[in-house]
Amino acid sequence: MNVAPPPLLAVEDLRVSFATPTGPFHAVRGVSFTLGRERLGIVGESGSGKSLTGRAIMRLLPASAQLSARRLSFDGIDLLSASTKTLRGLRGARISLVMQDPKYSLNPVMTVGEQIAEAARIHGGVSKIEARLRALAMLEAVRIRDPERVFRLFPHEVSGGMGQRIMIAMMLVPEPDVLIADEPTSALDVTVQLQVLAILDDLVRQRGMGLLFISHDLELVASFCDRVLVMYAGRVMEELSARDLASARHPYTRGLLNSLPRLGDERAELPTLSRDPAWLEER
């Protein structure tokens, strides 16, 4: 008998809200999905709750956020009831988050190389020398030219695309089981982007890592991921196989696709979304 392997991540009815002077603001409203050893994309317009969904899984929401879920588990561990200590042991080591804002999440007074080496040391239990070597190897893997030089730079001395790759290197060096990557390649030129995605792809195929890939680049997600969740106003509007994304029929998804400029056509005015109030309703 074939038993399907349990998912790495199971999320059921995830909700995140904030108290505001005019009452609670529901930023994530009942999101459910599972993640196996695959590439799952999350797309959707700005403010639809993609980043908060990723941060909720890491239990890294701002203190002002209210979190609830029927289920939120990683590899059988209940993340809702897990102790701070358990969570700290998981974060970075077994589940990693590449944040949307690389410079925000790097320590400004420490060289980028030391930060990656520290990640290797804390989570990989290796010596200082070994950690340095791993950090250099990882910088090279994410196609940083001249890793020795970049190792010694401070965050403000690296370009936007280098900062993103440094974050990715830092998150991959402990070899996590799940990587949540929030717009990980938005600052990369297209060739480096492809090379970095190939690294993630290989980790999924060869090591069985689970990848949650948050992006607003629909064409990239369509070509890179296995499945896609399309989010709107804190909800999953539809779930599709990535190869069907281009032919999606939901008017919201179609609207997103139509608003893309394309090399092949010369529209002066790009169509923007007209939002249907019915999309807001919870089913």
């Binding site: 370009s159 030129d189 607003h216």
Partner: protein
């Protein structure tokens, strides 16, 4: 409007020096929109920062209008930064971010101007008294664009202005920028990794690699996918989406 000749920018000195820009030349006419594309770390942001007067340690020449780019001219030129997180002060509300340039330059009717600027970038009045950490990535970038427009500059330097935005907001911002460009006769330099965005927004573009301009072309040539250089052809292939084979075949150009 903009003229750059043999611009060279080096960080540090001695054996550890980084030659970020190694002799770049281009011209942008009044009212023209010019794209800068190319590899990450090739010096695009460094060129823009020099033009905005934020870095004066360069050689060669760079002028805006009749004046050297070494002189800061905030009412002539404004820049929108690549990183919307770093460019907004975390403890200043949106209102303060937008009204501050008006105060500094003693420009009146701040109230209406702030309201109009928010509306122009598609943010409702509810956003006016929020702090950056209460905004999504895309909302922050819209505030950054609104702020750059407060002083009604004639030149706008845009560093990846839509890479943090979702596609619908990107369409709104690109439509807005195209409209402003016509209405205010704006001259623009746009840095973007997205070749379709550059094609949509620009008349001409320069392709950079390792601190040099590899080639300059008009947008029609880009649309026909007929660049001269192998480096640019690889860029075009890679922009067609993810393909493991293509990824393995990428070569480094020096």
């Amino acid at each position: 409007m903009i003229s750059v000749r043999d611009l060279a920018i080096t960080f540090g000195s001695g054996p550890g020096a980084v030659h970020a820009v190694r002799g770049v030349s281009f011209d942008v006419a009044d009212g023209e929109s010019f794209g800068l594309v190319g590899e990450s770390g090739s010096g695009k942001s460094t060129v823009l920062r020099a033009l905005a007067g934020l870095n004066r340690l360069w050689t060669g020449s760079a002028t805006l209008g009749e004046t050297s780019a070494r002189v800061q001219q905030p009412r002539l030129v404004q820049m929108v930064f690549q990183d919307p997180y770093a460019s907004l002060h975390p403890r200043h509300t949106v209102d303060r971010a937008l009204s501050e340039p008006l105060e500094i330059h003693r420009i009146g009717d701040a109230n209406e101007r702030v309201e109009r600027a928010l509306a122009d970038v598609g943010l409702g009045p509810a956003f006016r008294f929020r702090y950056p950490n209460q905004l999504s990535g895309g909302q922050r970038q819209r505030v950054a664009i609104a702020r750059a427009l407060m002083l009604e500059p004639r030149v706008l330097l845009l560093d990846e202005p839509t890479s943090a935005l979702d596609v619908s907001v990107q369409a709104e911002i690109l439509n807005l920028l195209r409209r402003l460009r016509v209405e205010r006769r704006l001259t623009m330099i746009l840095v973007s990794h997205n070749l379709a965005v550059v094609a949509h927004m620009c008349d001409r573009l320069a392709v950079m690699n390792r601190g040099l301009v590899v080639e300059e072309m008009d947008v029609a040539t880009l649309r026909r996918a007929e660049p001269r250089e192998a480096y640019t052809r690889q860029l075009l292939t890679a922009s067609k989406g993810y393909d493991r084979e293509v990824a393995s075949g990428i070569v480094t150009f020096d």
